[in-house]
Symmetry: C2
Subunit: 271 residues, 2 copies
């Protein structure tokens, strides 16, 4: 595995692989890797000749009162994990933007609801950094986790709208043995937080197990199950437009975001 | 020359050329081609193996009271002209956006002044369509005219910020024998409009010929020369940041935009 920190060197190296006909796969991350990330890298590994992972905690996608400074980091451990799943190039830029960076990529509508409503500007930061990373890496295939379900839908839309010749693959959410969706932020949870955090998945399971076609009925069953300090949303939406549904008569996705202590957690399930 | 109207067919065709190692050049236009466009195509022709031109009148970059519906079109003549300068693939999409297109690429700051001030949203439309065209064509080199000087600076910034591996080349402005900067919109001018239109270049020449280091002095000399119905701006700016200068002690660009009759004209000159 080759580790590269410089933007221009990374791009030159990867364009050269592409020029030689190699299919480049890409998994962008913010580091502090867990089995969820590794599962995405394994998915990408099987779909490409040269696997690139990136670790960059992107300031643009954090709000002013969010956990940018506290976001957990462990580059040494991350490097070993990337190597263990067959990453060929690990891109770890200390900084990613020019001082006078002035371009924003914005996906409208899809970013209005769900996490977009409680995290203004978050998705603009995500699409802008992903567009820049795609520019550097020029991947043929990129894998994003279904854990960040709205993010995946937003990136699919961006790639479609900008006609980028990149296959976007969604990787299934990975859960801990107790059912908690893996997240770098789970590190913040103490034991009692963690048992409350588990109620998010319990609520989603209740939604999935209810046979009712009525969204309001399913949400009424699930809402009391969530034991959080505050709930940003508990919603059932169309899987690609992310528009709230009233009736379930086709594919649908249930999503939840809630604060447990000072930690904001998200989870989702296909219906 | 091969003409293609369909987005997916165009992308498949051009990616295939790239995969075979050909260097792809690109000149995007809104059609109604004149010698200015053809000079850009000749510049691109000399820098690539496979030359792509596009003709698309992009609704996103027209304001609600602008000339989208009247914008001149002549596809048959344009096709012959493209062939005459050695275009290999002519891309003429009847429509370029999906019905639920929702992605905008926006360059801040550089788009605040000059034409950005009088045409709100114009440059968002330009960067969005150019990003999408770049996605489809995946050019190695793209040529834009210095006639649209601010547009060229904005596209250079977008390409830098999104790390697109595309060389952006600026093509010199081409003038008619009387000095009028070539523009598809010159078609709108009657004889008396045209003689007034020539005063824009006369004013720019007066700025270039003045030896004064003072921007306000040079502008004071030039301003009375312009015979237009209204002047959007007459400015001297830094050539890449586009920030207004007070003193000329290095490279600078003088730019003018004015309405003559119902026609909005722009011109510029290097100092």
């Amino acid at each position: 595995m080759h580790t590269v920190a410089d933007v221009a060197s990374a791009q030159t190296r990867l364009l050269d692989f592409k020029r030689h006909g190699l299919r480049v796969g890409f998994v962008p991350t913010m580091g502090f890797l867990h089995e969820g990330h590794l599962s995405l890298m394994r998915l990408a590994r099987a779909r490409c000749d040269h696997l690139v992972a990136s670790i960059y905690v992107n300031p643009l996608q954090f709000g002013p009162n969010e956990d940018l400074d506290q976001y957990p980091r462990d580059l040494e451990r991350d490097t070993a994990l990337c190597e263990s799943v067959g990453v060929d190039t690990l891109f770890v830029p200390p900084d990613l933007y020019d001082g006078d960076h002035s371009t924003t990529v914005r996906v409208q509508e899809l970013t209005d609801g769900l996490c977009g409503a409680s995290r203004p500007g978050h998705f603009d930061g995500v699409t802008t950094v992903v567009a820049r990373l795609f520019g550097i890496v020029q991947p043929d295939v990129a894998v994003f986790g279904e854990k960040d379900y709205q993010q995946l839908a937003v990136i699919r839309r961006m790639v479609r709208d900008l006609c980028l010749p990149i296959e976007i693959v969604g990787g299934p959410l990975v859960r801990d043995v107790d059912g908690l969706a893996l997240s770098s932020r789970n590190k913040y949870l103490n034991a009692s937080d963690r048992s409350r955090a588990l109620t998010l998945f319990a609520a989603l399971q209740a939604i999935a197990n209810s046979g009712s076609p009525s969204v309001s009925e399913r949400l009424a069953i699930a809402r009391p199950i969530v034991q959080a300090d505050s709930v940003d949303y508990l919603s059932i939406v169309h899987p690609s437009s992310l528009k709230p549904l009233e009736t379930i008569d086709g594919p649908a996705r249930a999503l939840v975001a809630a604060h447990v202590g000072s930690t904001r957690l998200i989870d989702n399930i296909g219906l």
